[in-house]
Amino acid sequence: MDLKNTIIRLAEAAGASGSEDDAAELALIMLREYCPDAAVSGGNVIGSFGAHREGRPKLVLDAHIDQVGFAVTAITDEGFIKVGNIGGLDRRLLPAQPVVIHGKNDIKGVICSVPPHLTSGSAPVPEISDIAIDTGMSKNELEQTVSLGDSITFDAACRDLLGSRITGGALDDRCGVACLLYTLELLKGQETAYNVTVIFSVQEEVGERGAKTGAFTIDPDIALAVDVSFAYAVGEDESKCGYLGGGPMIGVSPSLSREISDSLMAAAEAADIPYQTEVMCGLTSTNADRYAVSRGGAKACTVSIPLRNMHTPVEVIDLTDVELTAKLLAEFIKEG
C-alpha cells in the first residue's frame, strides 16, 4: 500500500464527530482488504484480522475516524449560517477560513471576518456564537440543500512539505487510521500473538464515545489507542512534546498499563525502532481512557504520532513517524 496516498485520501474525506460517514466508508473499504469481515457497528468500523484462535488474548487496535468541525445551528434571513462547535477549536484562526458545509451536496463557504475599521486595532477573538459562514447564497437557496444539524469541516487540502513531512486537516487522526492499515499490511501472512481486532471509532473529539461502545462490543484484554500527540514547535512547551521524526510516542501514565508501556518499549528496542516516551500524569484524553475501564477492564496504552498545529487546517506530520509507529505495532503484535 502507498502510505502517503492512503493518509491523504483519508485526511481529505469529511467526518466531523457524529457525521463520520464519508471518512468511515472510505476507511471500511480500505480495511476490508485486510479484514474481510469488516463492517460498521454502532457507527464504528470494526474488523477482525487473521484467524482468531481460542486461548489467545484479545487485542484491539484503535484509531478514531472523526475530526473536529461545526454543526449548522441556524440560517439567518440574510443567508448566513450560524454554527456550534464540534470538538475543541482554536477560535483565533477562524476569521476568513474556508469551510465546506456537508448538506445534501457539499457547499463551499468562508467564515465571516470583521474588518479592522470596525474593531479599532486588533480584532477580538470571536466567540463561537459570533461565527457566521458566508456561502454567497440566500436563505432560500441554502434551505434547498442545508438542514440544521448538518456538519461543517475546514476546506483543507493536503500539501507536501520538505522531506517526508506533509500538512493537511484531519490528520488527527486519519494518519492513525492509515497507520493501522499499514500495520496490517506489515502483519499480512504472519502469525500473531493475539486475536487482533481493529476499531476505527467515532466521536472521539466529543468525549471518546465511539470507543466506549466499541470497547464494550469487543471486550479486549489489551487495547492500543493510536492517536496523535503534540509535536514540539515554536510556542510549545518542549518538555510536554515529542519531536517530529522522532518516532512513535509511547504513553506512560497511571491510567495506562505500565506492563504494556514497558513491552512496547522493549519491542521498539529489540527491533531498533526509535521511540519517544510521553508521560501523562492522569487521564490521556484519548480512547485509551475508555478501553481501560470498559466492562471488567483492559490493559490499555497509547501509541501516538507526533503532530503540529493540532485541530487546525494545517496539521503537520512526518510520514516517517507513521511508518515507525506501524512497525512498532507490528513488532509488538507478531508471534514473539
Binding site: 476569521p95 476568513a96 471576518s113 454567497g136
Partner: protein
Amino acid sequence: MKELLKELCLIDGISGDEGAVRDYIISRVKDYCQYSVDDLGNLICFRKGRKSPKKKLMICAHMDEVGFMVTYIRSDGTLRFDCVGGIDPSVIIGRRVRVGKDRISGVIGSTAVHNLSREQREKAPSVDSLYIDIGAASKEEAEKHVFLGDCVYYDSEFTDLGEHCVKSKAIDDRAGCAIMIKLMQEKPDYDTYFVFNVQEEIGLRGSAVSSFSVAPDFAIVLEATTAADIDGVKGEKRVCELGRGPVVSFMDRRTIYDKELYRLAFDLATCQTKTMIAGGNDAGAIHISGKGVRTISVSVPCRYLHSPSSVIDMSDLISSFKLVKNLSKRIPLL
C-alpha cells in the same frame, strides 16, 4: 470576465514583485495599445480612441497583492516573516502559504489550542510570534530552499460561492485589472491612458510615479474596497454591501474626491457610497500629483479584503465595468 479574474487572481505578485502579473497583462493588451514599463515597474498603456480630447483621462488599478517576505531562518528550520501590506494576523494563522521562486509549501502554525491558557485563547497572536513551517528539520535544510527576502504568497483556491459570488486571494486589486483589460479590448470613444500600478499596498508608491509621468487631467481609480455586510454588523457600519453595485466614495482616509465626478457617477448608474470614512487607495497619491488631478474611484465591494479568502459578487464587477465605460465617455468632455 470570471475566467479573466480567475487567471489574474491566481498569479502571485506581492508589492515589489509584480512582474508575473505585468507579463500576463501585457500578453492580454499588447495588441490594443502602445505601452511602456517605467523604472518602478508600472505598466503605462496608451489606448487610441476614436477622438483625441483636449483633456487627458487616466484609468488605473494596482497589480500588487498583500503577502509576506522571509526575514530570518531560525535554527529549527522555521521561517520568520513580515507582512507586505496590511494583514490581520487572525486571517493568516492556520493557513497554507507558498514560499519563494519554487513556491514550496509551508504553513503558518500556532500553538495547539489544548496548550493555550484561557487568556491566550482570547487574544490573536502578533505577527512577531508567528512562523512559517516548511517541513525543514534544521536551518541547513531550510537554507537549501529558502533565501532571505523570498516572497511568500497565500495558497488559496479560486472558487465559486453560490450562483454569483467568488472567493479568492488577490481580488484586491486584480478586479480593477480585469475591468481595465476588458475596457482596453473595446475601442474607446476617447484616447485613454490605462495604467497598471505597482506597490499600492505599501503606501501608494507606484501611482505617485506613474501619475507624474502621465500627468492626466482626470483619473478613474479602480479598486476593491471593504464591505462589512456580514452577520451581526448593522447600518452604517456595513460601509458598503455586495450586490448593490459599484462603490463610489465621497471621501476616504487619503482623498476627498472631486464632487462633480462623484455626482456624475450617480447620474450614470445605480451606485452606492461608503457609509464610513475608511480606507484609502491610489487616488491619495494621484489627486495631489503635479498641479492636481480631478479624481474619482470606483470600487468593487469586497468582503474579507486582504485575506486569502476575499469574496465579491460578480454582478458588482460587471456593473463597475459598465459604469467606468460610461464615465470614460463623459469625463473627457467636462
